[in-house]
């Protein structure tokens, strides 16, 4: 028995030493809260090597999940990557720290058209990290003709062959756009109509599953013909399966920007600035863009990537397509409507 106890004790000590890292070096740490699969992992190591700051890297799946975490304890995170409308919301709730732009030496690399955006009018709280669109990824061997419209999701041509997004704003937005309304509609009649479309789509058995990050691997495997997806995930899938194609439907879609922000009371404000500045460095921004396939807000990085980037019309869509797209804005005052309608969609059978 004594032997067993000492063996157990030794085991605890060994594993405790594994779990307890050596006290962080003097340079400290930075707690980063980013989307799942949204960075080139090498970048984190490079940052640690260059600055000696240890990166604690955490991941989230949807904006809504992230907001709950940040609201619960904003000091836990030093750098967060919310989308446009969430930056607006977090700022309105006083959960963001102003960024000290004098410390962001690479800020001049950010494309001019992304400065002073609607969601952060005075450009106080956020710096763009990536941007992209929402569209349909489809398997050209499984469709009758090239997809051009959101209607393909709803007209019944592809029964049990569609992956929808398990994300309130994205899925409601798609239905609103299909009906010709704004993706930021606050009109109860329009919203109810959008819900009806989604409920009918589900009841008719068109939808195979509601999911977010799972979709790309399943599209690569050929599990469904159509999937609603963000650009980067779609291009990642196309890279692995050349049968796949991405389209921004003709009715227009959502265009979004994910920014980098520093939450209120962040414990490591200075390190957060260093981390953000590092991600704005052209060579680093290039590494990230090439890894995760999203559109790049960084002029220097685009120059480095050259024609690979500029000629890719999915990643760098022409002006006339962008004009049809719409940013999400904060709809907090009618959020209970969105939530209730979405729950009804999910619950319909």
């Amino acid at each position: 028995m004594k032997k067993l106890t000492s063996v157990l004790l030794a085991l605890v000590l060994v594993f405790a030493s594994l779990a307890l890292p050596a006290a962080a070096e003097n340079a400290g740490v930075v707690n980063v809260f980013n989307w799942e699969d949204y960075i080139c992992e090498d970048v984190l190591q490079m940052f640690e090597q260059e600055t000696g700051i240890k990166v604690n890297y955490m991941r989230f799946t949807t904006n809504e999940d992230m907001m709950v975490q940040v609201r619960a304890d904003s000091s836990k995170f030093d750098v967060v990557f919310p989308s446009d409308y969430c930056i607006e919301r977090l700022a309105a709730e006083g959960l963001l720290e102003e960024i000290d732009f004098s410390k962001i030496t690479n800020f001049n690399q950010i494309a001019d058209n992304l400065l002073n955006p609607d969601y952060d009018k005075e450009n106080k709280y956020s710096i763009p990290y990536m941007w992209g669109t929402v569209g349909i990824l489809y398997n050209s061997t499984m469709v009758k003709e090239p997809i051009t419209s959101w209607a393909s999701l709803f007209d019944g041509s592809y029964p049990n062959n569609i992956f929808m997004m398990d994300s309130i704003r994205d899925s409601m937005g798609v239905a609103l756009k299909y009906l010709g309304y704004s993706m930021n509609s606050k009109n109860p009649l329009e919203l109810e109509a959008a819900k009806e479309v989604l409920v009918k789509q589900k009841k008719d058995g068109l939808v195979k599953a509601y999911q977010v990050d799972e979709t790309k691997d399943k599209m690569v495997a050929g599990e469904a013909a159509l999937g609603v997806m963000w650009t980067g995930d779609a291009l990642y899938a196309i890279d692995l399966n050349p049968d796949l194609e991405y389209v921004i439907p003709e009715e227009g879609s959502n265009i979004w920007v994910d920014g980098m922000v520093i939450p209120k009371n962040a414990e490591n404000y200075e390190n957060a600035l260093k981390f953000i500045d590092f991600l704005c460095r052209p060579d680093i921004a290039k590494m990230n863009c090439e890894e995760i396939w999203y559109s790049c807000p960084n002029k220097g990085a685009i120059e480095l990537m050259g024609s690979d980037y500029i000629d890719n019309l999915d990643i760098n869509p022409p002006e006339e397509i962008i004009e049809k797209c719409e940013f999400f804005s904060d709809v907090n005052d009618v959020l209970p409507i969105y939530t209730a309608l979405w729950n009804e969609v999910k619950n319909s059978k």
Partner: protein, 333 residues
């Protein structure tokens, strides 16, 4: 991983207080030395545990109650239960301010109630299927004619060592459109079957996860059963069916009830399985509670839903206790 290094100060206090209490308990016993007897001195041994349970079980339960009966400002309200009954509650309040056109759209939302009934229904199905599969299994395991070695029990325990999430995900690779079964079907020239993303897949996942919890208690009871009763029944002229109905089944009832408890309770609140095998097409009550807390961030309604869940479970436990007042069913071990 920095949080491990710096233990929060309150935790240090809690640990300190805890050890002070343990010491106090020991000193208390020592002081009674001499005239001590078992029924006086050793009760103090339970005091650290009592304190622990007050902080980490009673207090959290009270907190759920607190949030369930207050609104976001902390004032008393029953509104959260209205939210449960009418999932459109907040939406309808907005519609009322929007004029007659929107007011015409006011309807009671049944999402929460529907999800609850759906979960109860699925849990019931899962329990019945587990019982049907497990009872013969337990009987065969306990069958003396077959001379099963006790190692057979271990065979049922071993799968539970593998992480249940991974086992569920493994089912995904079996059931998918491009999965093993469909690959086999198309190799045989048969049409593909839609096996995943539906109710049946969720049910399969649940039965798979909970089956051992039904097998063990029944096996324990059957294994302990006095075999002479069988022989007596047969000597008195009962055929094997009659023996089963009159002798085996009634005597194994405690095991069955214990099994039902161990399968039904956790399966009502299953979450994760619907998301992986059901493709998010269906929601169980566990998913709903989770999304209230972690996606909508609405602790008050979420707490009300949890409270309703707890009450339902207590009621069904009460009913099951009635059926097995002695609590002889025995547990997992």
């Amino acid at each position: 991983m920095n949080q491990i290094g710096s233990m929060p100060s309150w935790a240090i206090w809690a640990v300190l207080a805890f050890f002070i209490l343990v010491m106090a308990g020991i000193i208390f016993i020592r002081s009674k030395r001499g005239k001590d007897n078992l029924h006086r001195g050793t009760t103090a041994f339970a005091s650290p545990y009592t304190l622990w349970m007050i902080i980490f079980t009673v207090l959290p339960c009270l907190l759920i109650g607190y949030y369930a009966f207050t609104d976001s400002t902390g004032t008393f309200t029953l509104q959260n239960f209205a939210h449960f009954w009418d999932s459109n509650y907040a939406k309808n309040e907005l519609y009322m301010q929007y004029g007659p056109e929107a007011a015409a759209l006011i309807r009671r939302g049944t999402v929460n109630v529907d999800t609850l009934t759906y979960s109860l229904w699925m849990a019931l199905l899962c329990t019945i299927i587990c019982l049907i599969l497990a009872y013969p299994t337990a009987m065969i395991m306990a069958d003396r004619e077959l001379k099963m070695s006790s190692a057979i029990v271990v065979l049922f325990v071993v799968p539970m060592w593998m992480n249940f999430l991974l086992r569920t995900i493994a089912w995904m690779s079996i059931l998918e459109d491009q999965g093993l079964i469909n690959q086999l079907l198309s190799a045989l020239g048969m049409p593909k079957a839609q096996l995943m993303y539906n109710n049946n897949a969720v049910l399969l996942g649940m039965v798979y996860n909970f089956l051992p919890f039904m097998v063990f208690p029944i096996y324990t009871v059957l294994g302990k059963m006095d075999y002479k009763l069988h022989e007596a029944a047969q000597d008195l002229g009962a055929n094997s069916f009659q023996t089963f109905i009159r002798v085996t089944a009634p005597l194994s009832l405690p095991g069955v009830i214990s099994g039902i408890t161990m399968v039904f309770m956790p399966s009502v609140t299953t979450f994760f399985i619907p998301r992986i095998l059901g493709g998010g097409n269906t929601m169980m009550f566990g998913d709903l509670i989770e999304s209230k807390f972690l996606t909508e961030g609405d602790w008050n309604v979420g707490s009300a839903l949890s409270l309703i869940m707890m009450v339902l479970i207590l009621i069904s436990l009460g009913i099951l206790r009635k059926a097995d007042p002695e609590g002889e069913g025995g547990g997992l071990m």
